[in-house]
Amino acid sequence: MADLLQEIEAQIAGAKATTAKQNVGIIREIGDGVARIEGLDDVMLNEMIDLGHGITGLALNLDETEVGVIILGDYTQLHEEDEVRATGKLLQVPVGKGLLGRVVNTLGEPVDGKGPIKSEVAYPVEKVAPGIIRRSPVRQPVQTGIMAIDAMIPIGRGQRELIIGDRSTGKTTICIDTIISQARLNKEAEAAGDKDYRPLYCIYVSIGQKQSNIAQIITVLEKADAMRYTIVLASPASDSAANQYLAPFAGAAMGEWFMDHGMDALIIYDDLSKHAVAYRQISLVLKRPSGREAYPGDVFYLHSRLLERAARVGEKYGNGSLTALPIIETKAGDVSAYIPTNVISITDGQIYLETDLFYQGVRPAISVGLSVSRVGSAAQLKAMKQVAGQLKGDLAQFREMAAFAQFGSELDPKTQAQIDRGKRIIELFKQPQYSPIPAEVQIAVIGVVQQGYVDDVPVDRVKDFQARLTEFLTTRKTELLRKIAQEKALSEALTAELKAAADQFKQTWK
């Protein structure tokens, strides 16, 4: 009761403040999620406008006689001749650890029915990316748990790696696997009380996806107990174009909070193709001039300013990082279309998923030839670099020779060996959904393969060999795996130990 009285007194004291100048306007035209407002002389670009009925808008078009405002809310409640006022504030979203484990919408409001969000800080949705001096090179790895990526196309903390492919090729699956893998690592480090380990928090921004898909993803994450390190920002296809347009920026603001406070975060934009489409819709309704494929002229800037906000900041500024995994959907494998080429030129590499590989049974359907990581082995564990350094080259040679193999003609032994090894490596990199592999197991398995222990195993039994080997190592050679995980590099002794373990396993293998 006393608290209530104090609160009322504080409110009345606050209301006694002097009258401030307000900027108002009248809605002249409203439709398609956009309102044209006459007046609002002093409004700034991207300023929040209070449209009444608890609805806010964003001033995007400042014309001579009117202001174009996109409506973030239920626009059916607004009418012509309604008075609106400028708030003098930029759009902000709540940020902080209170959002972990929650599902929110573009404005940071909870949609999972688990009560209000506890957040003291709000970050602006549009913010300038960290400057050149603030940044530092990418050195720490992101363990995605997917062998093909961690071995050949490694991703580092602070990098932007594009995941590009046709529909249903496994783009979202790679991202969910990464989240699950990171959650597992976070939990292990927490349980072991490891103070040196830096947990990686994940933000999954869903733009224009089906709500059933989003629900399924949340279920998968909950089952893997990954939700407590994850924020899900959902802007499904039923959301207005304005909300879909702002969703990635709101997610980036949440990620920036982690980066500014010395923590590491990973943000997934699923997907930016739909984001560009939503922005195109808004621009066309605002009567902005359109360019190629009817996209507005600044569609490149739309994605570049978003992706530049992902960075690794230097020691002096907290040593935090924000890694971005944008997803782009291509049509018929055309990576030379407008939006895909834009985003490819912005990101630090791409993971290219092919439909052909997918239907051949190579899942994840990663095209090793076309995928690249411009950060590369700088962000790889030394042990992984030692065992996997040759792999990309080996596979490139295999692809070249594979054409000969189709002729069925007699090949010299060296070529035949290359082809055999290549087939087995491809078989090795097939991995089921939602089952990330820990780094030390990956290193051990690849090390065993590179030593030639798989060369006499039939191709269709390679997966079986791998499964049995993994079981063997995790149950009988836990000490070896622990040492690899600890030292992160393969010394002579460790290599010898691994070889001995492989010999032991091979003896029992039939």
Binding site: Q11, I12, G14, A15, T19, K21, Q22, N23, V24, G25, E38, G39, L40, D41, D42, E64, T65, R85
Partner: protein
Amino acid sequence: MKTSRQIKREAKRLFRSCLVNGMLDEGRTRQVVQRVIDGKRRGGVALLSHIQRLVKLDCARHSAEVESAMPLPADLRERIQAGLTRIYGPGISASFAHNPELIGGMRIKVGSDVYDGSVRARLAALQKGF
């Protein structure tokens, strides 16, 4: 055929020609409007509606609507007029209206700027705060 952008530019040009010392001159405005009507040009109606919009906005910027809960005495009105002239310059004209819905205090609207010191506004702010 003139596009709407060209018509807007033309309207802006004609509007600027109606200004004398930065203030809208009634005589000139009437002349310009009459010329456009007499000219019978294509797009003339659109041109006139643009000019009308610009004139309307300019008038709104230079006129102040003062609403008060109670009728104001003459000296207070003079003080308000002087204050507005000080902030907005000499061309401002104030109109006074009586609006009991404000409950108390007054509300001044000049173009897009609103100074709302009425009791109604403060109650609304309190309600929003809670």
